[in-house]
């Protein structure tokens, strides 16, 4: 069998035949084996054929020639000898004469298992570190560095699926533990997408081959030709082994390089797939952890928002010379979309309003704040309640948010008991007189939805002790266990006999009734009420 050298360096691994009487190894171009490394002299060493023997001679190199760790000037080589040039292991040469590793326990196989061991060590290191990772970015970086160690690839990327199912670059690392700058890179977009969709690894030996080249000109231009891409899949815990639950692919691990190196070996692929399974779990748990932390932060924000929202509402009770009121709002989530407000309008009387924004939670709360502040700004400069609602409607339409609207009731009670009001799509308020009840329905459509909507107002005269009870639809539409709604009839029942009563007592009675009615069911909507009592003209 012919003599040859197995060369492992930054260019990967290759086998070079020792096919000359004097075989020169060095940095110079004319060398039979040219090695580019600072420790290698221009003419470093030679292998001379001497009958059946091969002699390795140092050619006066600066940093020395070593065989199996021992510095030599001349040495007869044997199959499996390791040759080192200079001070480092950056370049490894193994001298071989025998046909295959199977005849001897040394040589190739040893090298192979050695490399495998290094791979395993890198993987184990990676896995150990993954277990302690809490920050997603750290975990991603760790995964990539370990993967680069194992494969000797030039670049590594992790792409994770966004909510819309598209892959997104999360982390990019280069060999030597560096982060590649930027947010998009010259990589194949077809290969990762295929791996993501099929959940199957792909090895592409050469992007120049076949029909892939056209799609990867950008990548080929920078010299990248070899790609290994494995899925990151999370395997959910199954209750029993035979219970099949499909793995969920959360992204891909993408490695590429200029040299074939070990990227393309089957062993690398299987090691990396095993590694990717653990990595996917670590990524997923870091992501869940980050989500939980984010959720906690949002909850804190919402609590502050709820405090602000309560502060935006006026005091829950108020008294003028001729009327008094009580009001309260209980959101079904942390913040709500209901509001109430009131304002002294001088000679016109006392203005009050209650509104309800479509939807719930934070979006509704933001819009509710806008409607409320518009209302309080417009009421004093309006001619009548219908004029106020028209202005609020126009103001909301200037900043229209698609399909979002508010309902609102606005009334102005004068000293003499005349109540003028306009109802913008709000559940009609109840007027509780001494001997009869009525509903305040005149007005117009909901606010913020229809350009050019017109609003009307009506005037009714209240007698001392008469009550106006305004509720959001969270009251009338509260449901009991059987799915029935609270409804207007129950509103009348609850307030029966309360003519002349103090507003806060009426409001308390109403809320109590709603609580009792809907006992055992979750509050489905914000519940807000305002009770106004006309006390009579004091003059």
């Amino acid at each position: 069998m012919d003599a040859r050298l197995q060369v492992t360096d930054s260019n990967g691994r290759r086998v070079v035949p020792v096919d000359k009487a004097i075989f020169l190894i060095g940095r110079r171009t004319a060398a039979d084996l040219q090695l580019v490394n600072a420790d290698v002299s221009r003419e470093h060493a030679e292998i001379a054929r001497d009958g059946m023997r091969y002699l390795l001679r140092d050619r006066g190199s600066r940093y020395g020639t070593f065989v199996n760790g021992e510095q030599v000037t001349e040495r007869a080589l044997e199959h499996g000898d390791r040759i080192r040039l200079g001070r480092t292991d950056a370049i490894e040469l193994v001298f071989m004469t025998e046909a295959s590793a199977s005849t001897h326990a040394s040589g190739l196989r040893e090298i192979g298992s050695d490399a495998d061991l290094r791979q395993m060590a890198a993987i184990l290191n990676g896995l150990r570190a993954l277990g302690s990772g809490r920050v997603l970015e750290d975990v991603l970086t760790l995964v990539l560095d370990s993967a680069l160690d194992v494969t000797k690839a030039d670049r590594g990327f992790i792409m994770l699926a966004r909510a819309d199912g598209e892959l997104e670059f999360k982390t990019a690392r280069g060999r030597g533990r560096i982060t590649l700058p930027g947010t998009s890179f010259n990589t194949s977009s077809k290969i990762p997408r295929e791996v993501f969709q099929t959940g199957e690894s792909r090895i592409v030996g050469d992007l120049m081959d076949g029909n892939l080249a056209g799609m990867h000109e950008g990548t080929i231009a920078i010299g990248i030709r070899h790609v290994l891409c494995v899925p990151l899949s999370v395997h959910p815990m199954a209750a029993s082994p035979d219970q099949g639950i499909a793995a969920r692919v959360i992204g891909v691990l993408y490695l590429d390089g200029r040299e074939r190196s070990t990227i393309l070996s089957q062993a690398t692929r299987s090691s990396l797939e095993a590694f990717a399974t653990q990595a996917a779990l670590a990524i997923e748990s870091a992501r869940l952890y980050a989500e939980a932390a984010e959720k906690a932060r949002i909850e804190r924000d919402l609590l502050v928002a709820a405090q602000i929202q309560q502060a935006l509402l006026p005091a829950g009770s108020y008294e003028t010379a001729f009327a008094d009121l009580a009001a309260a709002s209980v959101p079904c989530r942390t913040v709500g979309g209901d509001f109430f407000d009131y304002i002294d309008l001088g000679a016109r009387g006392f203005g009050f309003g209650l509104g309800d924004v479509a939807g719930k939670g934070a979006p509704a709360a933001l819009l509710a704040a806008a409607v409320q502040s518009n209302f309080i700004a417009q009421a004093p400069v309006s001619a009548d309640p219908a004029d106020t609602l028209t202005r609020v409607n126009n103001a909301l339409l200037r900043r229209a948010i698609e399909a979002r609207f508010a309902t609102m009731f606005h009334g102005v009670i004068a000293l003499d008991g005349r109540l003028s009001y306009s109802n913008g799509g709000q559940e009609p308020p109840l007027v509780l007189g001494r001997s009869q009840t009525s509903w305040l329905e005149t007005g117009g459509p909901v606010l913020g939805l229809l350009p050019g909507a017109t609003y009307e107002y009506d005037t009714v005269t209240l007698s001392p002790g008469d009550l106006v009870v305004i509720c959001s639809d969270g009251v009338t539409e509260a449901r009991n266990f059987a799915g029935e709604e609270f409804g207007r009839e129950r509103l009348i029942e609850v307030t029966e006999g309360l003519h002349g009563a103090k507003p806060d007592m009426v409001l308390e009675r109403l809320f109590e009734a709603v609580r009792k009615f809907s006992q055992g069911t979750a509050q489905g909507d914000d519940i807000t009420g305002l009770v106004l009592r006309y006390r009579g003209n004091p003059t």
């Binding site: 698609e402 399909a403 309902t407 709000q426 939805l449």
Partner: protein, 113 residues
């Protein structure tokens, strides 16, 4: 929420089953459906709401929105089989005049001729 569609002559009939609510994303589903029908050139639309048990305020807003969208794109959206519950809601919110609504699909279809 489930959306089924069928052609009746040159009129597209969209049949909704289930609640139109914010929570179940029904409001957005409905909007997307109508948008895509309009883009496909269907200008005469009947929305059959016979299978709709509950419409919340967000769903109501979306109904008004798609009605306006259809109108702006030269189309017409008419409602059929409006339940009593929804009719009450339209009355309270005074949106009843915004829609052309009919008691049955047949009447809604006939209104186009």
């Amino acid at each position: 929420m489930q959306i089924d569609q069928k052609m009746a002559g040159d009129i597209m009939v969209v049949h909704i089953t289930g609640d139109i609510t914010l929570n179940q994303g029904g409001d957005v589903l409905l909007k997307d459906k109508i948008q895509s029908l309009l883009q496909q050139g269907h200008k005469k639309l009947v929305l059959d709401l016979g299978g709709v048990a509950y419409v919340d305020s967000a769903g109501l807003g979306q109904l008004v929105q798609i009605h306006a969208t259809a109108k702006n794109q030269g189309g017409s959206l008419r409602l059929a089989n409006v339940t009593k519950k929804l009719k009450d809601l339209l009355v309270v919110t005074k949106l009843v005049t915004v829609f052309d609504s009919y008691d049955s699909e047949k009447e809604a279809l006939a209104s186009f001729s």
